[in-house]
């Protein structure tokens, strides 16, 4: 038995560390299922309204900034890569690489939120925030307001998940730098990775659905 093995404790309700790991992993996947259904509600609203008002959605979508959206997609995919590398580092026990990768993921996540904030500010500035101040130049202003309601609901929920993710990353960085993780025990890193990639997947759908409608016109 190496010194690592002694560190692999398990909670009293489990028979061994393997059972604990399997239960935790299953728990995380089941949690992600609830997240999919949670976002599923707004996606349903989106599908219903886009199929009802395709042109209005096309026009409204052209008010979003494709450049920022594109950059953000790349940033988020990059953060998924650094997160995957963090899991990899934890699996092979490279503490320094693990901390670096987690910090990089945090950095990229913050860049994403920063860009999102710029975009939001721009929408406020141009009166594209739903409500009494909504001021939209163009046809189908009402349906465009519907589009922007969905835009803010979907990206807002997504950004909220990013913020929660950044909090999780901060905890992981702290634990990792204290040497909590080893090749034998790094379940939190791995399961958090699942969450982070899930948030990435949501964006992978949000990007074409919100930014790329009728871009050819």
């Amino acid at each position: 038995m190496s010194s690592h093995a002694a560190a692999v404790t398990h909670q009293h309700q489990f028979d061994d560390a393997a059972q604990q790991y399997e239960a935790s992993a299953l728990g995380m996947w089941v949690f992600l299922v609830t997240e999919i259904m949670f976002f599923g509600g707004v996606f349903t609203a989106y599908v219903a309204y886009r199929s009802a008002y395709p042109e209005a959605f096309g026009h409204a979508s052209n008010h979003l900034d494709l450049t920022w959206g594109g950059i953000n997609t790349v940033v988020l995919i990059g953060s998924s890569l650094t997160m995957a590398l963090a899991v990899h580092a934890s699996q092979i026990g490279k503490r320094g690489t693990l901390v670096t990768c987690l910090l990089l993921t945090m950095l990229l996540g913050s860049v994403f939120l920063g860009i999102k904030a710029i975009e939001y500010a721009d929408k406020f500035h141009h009166g594209l925030v739903p409500g009494p101040a909504f001021h939209y130049q163009g046809a189908d202003a009402h349906q465009a307001e519907l589009f922007f309601s969905l835009y803010f609901a979907m990206t807002g929920l997504h950004a909220l998940h990013m913020i929660i993710g950044l909090g999780g990353l901060a905890v992981l960085v702290r634990q990792a730098s204290r040497g909590r993780f080893s090749p034998a025990y790094h379940t939190p890193v791995e399961l958090f990775g699942l969450y982070w990639h899930f948030v990435d997947i949501i964006w992978i759908f949000l990007f074409p659905l919100l930014y790329l409608v009728e871009r050819h016109t």
């Binding site: 489990f14 299953l26 728990g27 089941v30 609830t34 609203a45």
Partner: protein, 539 residues
């Protein structure tokens, strides 16, 4: 067999408020839930009482129209989100699932405690909304009434429901992982008690349905708070979209309430006829079938909304399909009695009552699935009667039956048997007197959520109110004698019913770790043939 020196069990393992509020023991958390939902049950019951009193006469005499609207809204909210949805899963499921599968606890004990705190926080939001003026949207929150017209506390209530939803999600998640990963050696899927199967199916619904309610309610809150216009008809929003999203959860939620009850009934019927369940595989599979099909039928709540005729017919067809697994269960329970050795202890009376009332509730559901008849009876007292037969006659009868059955395990004491039988009888009579007249009222055309009504409906309403007062007594009794039994009840012993199932192999009340050592299962469930009554030691 009780010794003089008090045995260590989960109740006396530790003392003080902290030991309860910070406990991670699934049994203690089950009791925390028991206490909280009992409070909510009587709060919701109080609202019901006021509703029934107002409806005693056709005119507006006891409360104002606004107050009445808030009363039925809060009755629905409290009973559904703060009593029925958590009832059996969070109390009996929490207490029993680890013991039934031979585990020391649920997979995630701290998440289990968290789910109770989340429940309480959600409940406090809702209570806050109630004491600061109440809410009048109906528990259904239909837009655009909830988003644009109502002047009441919609946002805090919506937040309360939203938060409580996460409690349900966490419970479901915990059960699924526990049932998959924590079963004792030898306990294969087809040796699981049907109670566990039912909770597995229930958990699936909690996991897949509740998040959709959460987002829908959140969008309503955002629309009120920030004018996000997702359901706003003025922007071209579809008011029916809200209803689709709402019922995607809220129809399967009915199965969250009734499936655990069905699980309880399977345990009771077998134990009190000393016989293996008839068609184990079919009863188990029907739980899963209900969970699956239950997600495909929601728009039968919407046949008169102006939804697509085609879609209505699809949903009607699927609604009939979900009736079959329910029927299969009823037939199998009935067949279990055949050539059994049937006795009539109080839990069995609840179980028999359940089958009767659930059968009526289920059959009247067919009327609502039939599009042509639904047009007339939807949104009338016919619907009110139907879902009370399912949710009160079904779910609550099952809950009380289960509570009586496992009370000796939970408390270590027996409740007074005669009183319990009397209570079961009072409940059965009171229930039918309350709700059967409402079927007639509904077909006559009395709409639901009416504070005043035409005088020709009065006699039936008086019958209903009279029944409700009997029902109220029936619910107070068990609470009183169960509290009494905590101190004065006879000691129960490990297995007073001489039932099969791992939970009965450990002392009552069980020790904190449930079993001295992990049990190994070698038998099928309900192996009563190998476990006859006669060897019962006199307690």
């Amino acid at each position: 067999m009780e010794t003089v020196a008090p045995r260590r069990d989960y109740l006396n393992a530790d003392y003080g408020v902290r030991s309860w509020l910070l406990t991670v023991d699934h049994k203690r958390i089950g009791l925390l839930y028991l206490g909280s939902i009992t409070l909510f049950f009587f709060l919701g019951g109080l609202f019901a009482l006021l509703i029934r009193l107002e409806l005693l006469t056709p005119g507006p005499d006891l409360v104002s129209a606004d107050t009445y609207n808030k009363l039925f809204t809060m009755h629905g909210l409290v009973m559904i989100f703060f009593f029925l949805v958590p009832s059996i899963p969070s109390v009996l499921g929490n207490f029993l699932i680890p013991m039934m599968i031979g585990a020391r606890d649920l997979a995630f004990p701290r998440i289990n405690l968290l789910s109770w705190y989340v429940f309480i926080v959600g409940a406090l939001f809702t209570l806050f909304a109630m004491v600061t003026g109440g809410v009048d949207t109906g528990w259904t929150f239909y837009t655009p009434f909830s988003t644009m017209a109502s002047n009441t506390n919609v946002i805090p209530t919506a937040l309360g429901v939203f938060i409580t939803g996460f409690s349900s999600i966490l419970t479901g998640l915990n059960f699924i992982v526990t049932i998959h990963r924590m079963r004792a050696p030898g306990l294969t899927w087809f040796r699981l008690p049907l109670f566990v199967w039912a909770h597995y199916a229930t958990s699936i619904i909690m996991i897949l349905g509740t998040p959709v309610l959460a987002i829908t309610i959140l969008l309503v809150g955002l629309e009120r708070a920030f004018h996000l216009g997702i359901f706003d008809p003025a922007l071209g929003g579809d008011p029916l979209l809200f209803q689709h999203l709402f019922w995607f959860y809220s129809h399967p939620a009915v199965y969250i309430m009734i499936l655990p009850s069905m699980g309880v009934i399977s345990e009771l019927i077998t134990c009190f006829s000393r016989k293996r369940i008839f068609g184990y595989g079919f009863v188990a599979a029907s739980s899963l079938a209900i969970a699956l099909l239950g997600f495909l039928v929601w728009a039968h709540h919407m046949f008169v909304t102006g939804m697509s005729v085609y879609a209505a017919l699809i949903f009607s067809f699927l609604s009939f399909a979900v009736a079959i697994p329910s029927a299969v269960k009823v037939f199998n329970w009935t067949a279990t009695l055949y050539k059994g050795s049937v006795s009539f202890e109080a839990p069995m009376l609840y179980a028999l009552g359940f089958i009767g009332l659930f059968t009526i509730g289920g059959l009247t559901g067919l009327f609502l699935a039939t599009t042509g008849v639904d047009i007339h009876v939807t949104d009338t007292y016919f619907v009110v009667a139907h879902f009370h037969y399912i949710m009160v006659g079904g779910a609550i009868m099952g809950y009380l039956g289960g509570l009586h059955f496992w009370w000796p395990k939970i408390s270590g004491r027996m409740y007074p048997e005669t009183l319990a039988k009397v209570a079961a009888l009072i409940l059965f009579i009171g229930f039918n007197l309350t709700f059967f007249p409402q079927f007639v009222l509904g077909y006559l055309g009395m709409p639901r959520r009416y504070h005043v009504y035409p005088p020709e409906f009065q006699v039936l309403n008086v019958m209903s109110t009279a029944g409700a007062s009997i029902l109220g007594v029936g619910y107070l009794l068990p609470m009183l004698y169960m509290l009494w039994s905590l101190r004065y009840g006879a000691l129960a012993g490990a297995n007073p019913w001489r039932a099969t199932g791992l939970e009965w192999t450990t002392p009552s009340p069980p020790p904190t770790e449930n079993f001295p050592q992990t049990p190994v299962v070698t038998q099928e469930a309900y192996d009563y043939e190998e476990f006859p009554l006669q060897e019962v030691p006199v307690v």
